[in-house]
């Protein structure tokens, strides 16, 4: 029987939702697109489910000079438009009552003074110091400005409660910028206070990779160079750049998806089992994987990296423009909309196993998956004539659109002869769980409020990611183009085949 002599809260045993300390959340960029589409709806959904801290306040801040009530109206409209469920009016109104707004620019001292006053007022009302979470949903150039001002106004640390800062991507556009940003942020805050968000890690599908690898004994024995021939990670999108030309043309596929999301998938796939699932144990193992990937030398880049742009083609039966014809894109842009890399994790487990990464826009369909191809069997005693034959086994972890795991196996074709063809043993998460996955931002906001950094990127992790990507970007920047083209709606450029080792093939998109 539990006793209360321990300082633990013995009442939490058996509860699915653990208590979270009362929190005041400040959103810089509180009227921005991310706040409207993702953050405010996520906060509403947490409120609806009773998952927010028992006492919760929100302060929005941005340049728009509007009173509290207008901010609440904007928040109400955003939640109604973008929430994954129809809001309960009573819950929504009670949540809006706890919202305030501070207008101003992020370099303005008065903004931080007023934020401090509001937050102190909330503490005073409750009689306890709330934790404070500052969410930087702003353009990256404001990250150091805001963090500096938080420090200057003594909003960065508190004696009796926690202060955390959530930073959205991108963390720099190259290694030097990432290092400089980390330096500026860590000049004010301790790393344990910094939560660099990569919303990909908030997806259930991505977290399931850890369960797949470390909760199932059957895969571990084959999870090495001894049995795995090669790995391919694909994040394909069927859409174009839409209205994001301004951002995308500066970024490109490598920065947009490979440096962060795809390298996250790679590290989760290749990491050693952590001692515990604490934030630093997990992140230590991920960083070790990144350190084991040698950044390419400039002369190696053409052999291991391919970029391309989509040209005009067909999507969903309709003609669509090429990238260079998209609105807002310069005619001579050399921004890649497709990138494919071959990397190697040079450690005991993975040495010699190529890991292919591929991402692109306007591809044949939307799919995110990791395919692990096992080595072929050493001897074939089966008939080859009249059958597809024995193919190497492939384990495919699908993230979207259908989350699941499939394993290809050789099976006998019914009949009198011993003919073999591959069949799929398929598991779909949707068939085995009743619960709806929470939105990634719901999970990550709660983790930040709870202080669990497992699903956030650490400073050395971001820098290790850039160390791999930087030489490729540099090599590409020296090559003026033109870039190889692939028709919109296709499986990508033929040039991508060039980085595959002999006997390796891209899976059909």
């Amino acid at each position: 029987m539990a006793t209360i002599e321990q300082q633990e809260n013995v009442l939490v045993e058996g509860l699915e939702r653990l208590p979270v300390h009362p929190t005041t959340l400040v959103i810089f960029g509180g009227t921005g697109d991310l706040a409207k589409r993702k953050l405010l709806p996520a906060i509403y959904n947490l409120a609806h489910e009773g998952a927010l801290p028992e006492r919760f306040n929100l302060i929005g801040s941005s340049r728009a000079d509007i009173p509290h009530d207008d901010y609440r109206d904007m928040a109400r409209d955003s939640i109604k438009q973008f929430s994954r469920r129809a809001p309960n009016e009573q819950v929504l109104e009670r949540l809006l009552e706890r919202m305030r707004y501070v207008p101003g620019t992020f370099d303005e001292d008065a903004v931080y003074e007023r934020l401090g006053e509001h937050a102190d007022e909330f503490d005073g009302e409750a009689g306890i110091p709330f934790n404070r979470v500052f969410y930087l949903s702003t353009a990256p150039e404001f990250f150091p400005v805001i963090v500096g001002k938080l420090g200057a106004h003594d909003l960065d640390h508190r004696e009796d409660s926690d202060v955390r800062v959530v930073i959205e991507k991108p963390i720099g556009t190259n290694l030097a910028e990432a290092k400089e940003l980390n330096r500026q942020v860590l000049a004010v805050l301790d790393e344990s206070q910094v939560f660099r968000i990569d919303h990909y890690l908030g997806k259930e599908t991505v977290q399931n990779m850890l369960a797949f690898r470390f909760a199932n004994g059957m895969f571990e024995p084959v999870w090495s160079r001894n049995f795995i021939d090669y790995v391919q990670i694909t994040a394909a999108e069927d859409i174009g750049i839409g209205t994001r030309a301004g951002y995308y043309d500066k970024s490109g596929a490598l920065r947009d998806l490979v440096q962060n999301h795809m390298l996250q998938l790679l590290t989760l796939l290749c990491m050693e089992p952590p001692v515990t699932f604490s934030a630093d144990d997990v992140r230590d193992e991920k960083v070790k994987v990144l350190h084991a990937i040698h950044p390419p030398q400039p002369e190696e880049v053409p052999e291991m990296a391919v970029r391309a742009q989509y040209s005009a083609g067909m999507a969903e039966g309709k003609p669509v423009p090429g990238y260079l014809e998209e609105e807002g894109v310069a005619e001579d842009s050399t921004t890649e909309t497709f990138a494919a890399l071959r990397l190697e994790v040079d450690n005991w487990r993975w040495a010699g196993v190529p890991i292919y990464l591929r991402t692109g826009k306007r591809l044949a369909r939307k799919v995110t998956e990791i395919a692990v191809s096992l080595k072929p069997v050493p001897h074939l005693a089966f008939e080859q004539a009249g059958s597809v034959g024995v193919q190497p086994n492939q384990i495919v972890m699908a993230m979207q659109p259908n989350e699941g795991v499939s394993l290809s196996l050789g099976a006998k074709i019914p009949g009198t002869r011993m003919r073999i063809r591959p069949v799929n043993m398929e598991f779909l998460y949707g068939t085995a769980f009743m619960s709806q996955s929470p939105e990634a931002y719901e999970r990550l906001l709660m983790d930040a409020m709870r202080g669990d950094a497992t699903l956030f990127t650490r400073d050395d992790e971001v820098e290790a990611q850039w160390r791999i990507i930087d030489p490729i970007l540099e090599a590409w920047s020296r090559d003026p183009g033109p870039l190889p083209q692939y028709p919109a709606g296709s499986g990508g450029p033929e040039e991508a085949d060039a980085i595959m080792r002999e006997g390796h093939h891209w899976r059909a998109i």
């Binding site: 209360i4 809260n9 058996g14 939702r17 309960n88 009573q90 819950v91 009670r94 085995a432």
Partner: protein
């Protein structure tokens, strides 16, 4: 409208029903490979024939928490034969590149003489290797006893038993053979979470050792929910529960804690329409008190600190409603709460 496969027969047998299920699944798959059967949980519900439609609708109302295969056994007086209706329903139309989940529903009209050996009728109809949850909202204890041979989980609602002593006794009996999900317990989850939260800030955690009185307000027929709540605190905090006695229409008792007795009071609240609790007040010897009551948009909370300072706020959360509670009960069949059994044991001690 999502596609649906249907089969029915009168005076039929479990093996014919099982064959029909297999055939319907094959037909669905032939229509589109995107139709994929959900494979999470079997649920067997045993109900009175005259309330079959009502229970069917309640099960329809649980939304995404549908069991993968539901077998609804409706017991009809004087019936000798088995009639069956089988439907395989997709939750949505298949979309390109995506799956459409299907669920199977089997409705059986059976007679009273089928009940003692109900497991032999149901066994061929459940999906092998999936957990099976059984539920008898209209009593039918004999059916549950028969189904225990193939079920791992029993769903009960202790509030439905008018005598709290009998409710606790039956639940204690069932936990010996299966994992029990009690809707009366699930209704109190938000209350337990909030009390746990209230004492979570480090500066208030010590107050748990100074609790001096607990008052639980409840719908008049939901006293068992209050007892389970007391039982939870007794078992978690290491209190020795004493017997509860009637006093002016309320139940009063004490529990022995390390630093003295804790007064326990159960107050019926006629204004409360939904089953379960309507409010909780917790007081400590040092003068702190916390009250939680149902309110608009969540629980209305009030705290008085040792220095007499009061504050009030709303703990945000939407009511799940009775459909939500039933859905939660189905979901909980796949989880394990280690605190219900000890709470039930303490509740039993309070009734003896």
């Amino acid at each position: 409208m999502p596609d649906e496969g249907v089969w029915s027969a009168q005076d039929t047998t479990p093996s014919a029903i099982e064959a029909a299920l297999r055939e319907l699944l094959k037909e669905q798959h032939a229509k589109s490979e995107a139709y994929v059967p959900a494979r999470v949980l079997n649920m067997v519900a045993v109900v009175d024939r005259e309330w079959r439609g009502e229970i069917y609708n309640r099960l329809e109302g649980v939304g995404r928490y549908h069991a993968s295969r539901t077998i609804l056994c409706a017991v009809e007086p004087r019936r000798e034969t088995i009639d069956a209706w089988v439907t395989v329903t997709a939750t949505s139309d298949p979309r390109p590149g995506e799956i459409a989940l299907t669920h199977e529903r089997v409705v059986l009209d059976i007679g009273p003489h089928h009940v003692p050996a109900l497991d032999t009728i149901v066994d061929p109809l459940v999906v092998s290797d999936l957990a099976t949850l059984c539920w008898a909202p209209h009593g039918h204890a004999e059916a549950i006893d028969a189904l225990l041979k193939l079920s791992q989980v029993v769903l009960i609602d202790s509030v439905n038993e008018p005598d709290p002593g009998a409710a606790v006794s039956r639940a204690r009996q069932l936990v010996e053979d299966a994992y029990v999900v009690d809707l009366a317990w699930l209704r109190s989850t938000p209350w337990r979470e909030r009390i746990a939260s209230s004492f979570d800030p480090p500066q208030w955690r010590d107050e748990l050792g100074r609790l001096s009185s607990l008052t639980v307000r409840h719908r008049p027929d939901s006293g068992i929910a209050g007892l389970l709540f007391f039982g939870w605190l007794c078992s978690r905090l290491g209190w020795e529960p004493g017997a509860m006695v009637q006093r002016n229409g309320e139940l009063f008792g004490r529990a022995s804690a390390r630093r003295g007795d804790v007064e326990l009071l159960l107050q019926p609240d006629a204004r409360q329409s939904a089953p379960g609790l309507s409010g909780i007040t917790v007081e400590t010897a040092s003068g702190m008190s916390i009250s939680l009551d149902r309110g608009p948009g969540g629980l209305s909370a009030r705290r008085r600190t040792r220095d007499g300072k009061e504050s009030s706020w709303t703990v945000l959360g939407a009511s799940r409603g009775e459909a939500g509670i039933l859905g939660e009960g189905i979901r909980q069949a796949l989880l394990r709460d280690p605190t219900y059994g000890p709470a039930l044991g303490c509740a039993e001690a309070m009734l003896t």
